[in-house]
């Protein structure tokens, strides 16, 4: 099983939605960390665990840009099947992220 830890592989201070707004954006996380690992998970037919714990916190725009952004590139159902979210610090984020992935369908239509 593949895994990503945001604090280990990206930053302890996740930032805004886009690179233009500031450092450690959701867009940057998607392009540099999440997308390559997700593609690897698809190639090797494995599950990908994303560990959200250990950071300072998350803005909704960061989570939406990363996970919603991924679901806009791939089929949301496929993303939900491959990605497993871990968030012990803020358990409500698990459902929130799953919602962003599911809602990405509306943006694709």
């Amino acid at each position: 099983m593949l895994s990503i830890s945001v604090v280990r592989d990206f930053a302890d201070t996740p930032g805004p939605r886009s690179r233009e707004e500031g450092e450690h954006s959701g867009e940057q996380f998607l392009e540099e960390v999440l997308l390559p690992k997700f593609e690897e998970a698809l190639r090797t037919n494995q599950e990908l665990t994303v560990d959200l714990d250990g950071t300072e916190g998350y803005a909704t725009s960061f989570l939406e840009a990363s996970f919603g952004g991924l679901a806009r590139k791939f089929d949301p159902a496929r993303v939900l099947k491959v990605i497993h979210i871990k968030s012990d610090d803020e358990p409500h984020l698990v459902e929130e992220v799953r919602k962003y992935i599911a809602d990405a369908n509306a943006a694709r239509k």
Partner: protein
């Protein structure tokens, strides 16, 4: 002959200088129309000093009418005068008002001189000293008599996670004795910074031109941390994507005003200005944190609306607040 005359170096120089002068005049005229060049060009030491009395209850969150009136007067009077702030009679003061006043002073740059005295009230004096207010005004500074908390102001025009982290650390250490994380406060600060970057300029200029000011105050007495976030942009209601026909219909036939629009924004019912369905989650996200009890005492002041969200007190202000202020506690 005339053709030769106008092609000489002397004429070329003259015409160039006229051109530059006219261009400068045009730019100034346009800026004046936009209300962005209010300051007279005279040197500060040639300007008279006017005294302004700061309201006794200097707080946007508790006394919005008087405080906003004072801040607007400050901005108007500072166009043509140096100012002396009389703070002697201030008996109540909060971080949001200090943040707003510092923002006004900073917007003047070096072009005006601002003097200020000390409040007689000890608690107010301490808060002002700890906020760094006296770094921005000329005054005799007394030493703070007691250290009941710590206040830290920051400003920028970008979204800065490290600044949000630093503010939270300072606030929590002052309130609880040791620094620790605050997920909801971090999330709210990033949302606010992002909103300033993306929406505060409205349609005026490109994104990222507007500045935000944030202040944290950790109160050791009651173990609370107060955050205030201010942007001096166009305000929520001039930046939100509202269809004018729908707005007019709601105003005329349903008696709705900006208070109702703010409620709709908080509930995520107003589409983002980008038109993308997955955008516009900033304020609804903060409201969600408030409803789930992760942040307390949420107050929003923008344009003509004051909203004490916790007490469901939504008011229309007689005087417009220039920008957006968010206040919350953890």
């Amino acid at each position: 002959m005339s053709k030769k005359l106008y092609s000489t170096l002397k004429w070329k120089k003259y015409l160039k200088s006229r051109q530059r002068y006219q261009l400068r005049r045009t730019r100034e005229r346009r800026s004046r129309r936009r209300g962005t060049v209010p300051l007279t060009r005279r040197q500060p030491h040639n300007l008279p000093f006017l005294t302004m009395t700061v309201p006794g209850n200097f707080s946007i969150i508790h006394n919005p009418a008087d405080t906003i009136k004072f801040l607007r007067e400050f901005r108007n009077l500072a166009q043509r005068n140096n100012l002396t702030l009389n703070l002697a009679n201030v008996t109540q003061i909060t971080v949001d008002a200090i943040t707003a006043l510092i923002a006004e002073i900073l917007s003047l740059g070096e072009k005006r001189l601002i003097n200020g005295n000390n409040p007689s009230n000890e608690a107010c004096r301490d808060l002002l000293i700890q906020s760094g207010f006296f770094d921005h005004v000329r005054s005799r500074r007394p030493v703070a008599s007691s250290q009941k908390g710590k206040i830290a102001p920051r400003k920028s025009h970008r979204v800065e996670g490290t600044t949000a982290k630093e503010l939270i650390r300072i606030g929590t250490e002052a309130a609880f004795g040791s620094p620790h994380k605050s997920y909801p406060a971090y999330s709210a600060l990033i949302e606010c910074m992002s909103n300033t970057h993306n929406h505060a300029t409205g349609m005026r200029e490109q994104h990222g031109a507007e500045m935000w000011y944030s202040t944290v105050y950790g109160n050791a007495d009651n173990g609370s941390v107060s955050y205030s976030f201010l942007d001096t942009g166009v305000g929520i209601f001039r930046s939100a994507r509202l269809y004018s026909l729908k707005k007019l219909y709601n105003k005329l036939f349903r008696g709705e005003d900006h208070r109702h629009i703010l409620k709709d924004i908080l509930l995520g019912r107003v589409a983002s200005r980008t038109g993308l369905p997955f955008r516009g989650k900033g304020l609804p996200g903060i409201y969600k944190s408030f409803r789930s009890g992760r942040i307390k005492s949420l107050i929003i002041v923008s344009n003509d609306v004051y909203a004490d969200v916790g007490n469901d007190d939504y008011r229309v202000l007689r005087m417009q607040f220039p920008g957006t202020l968010l206040y919350w506690e953890t």
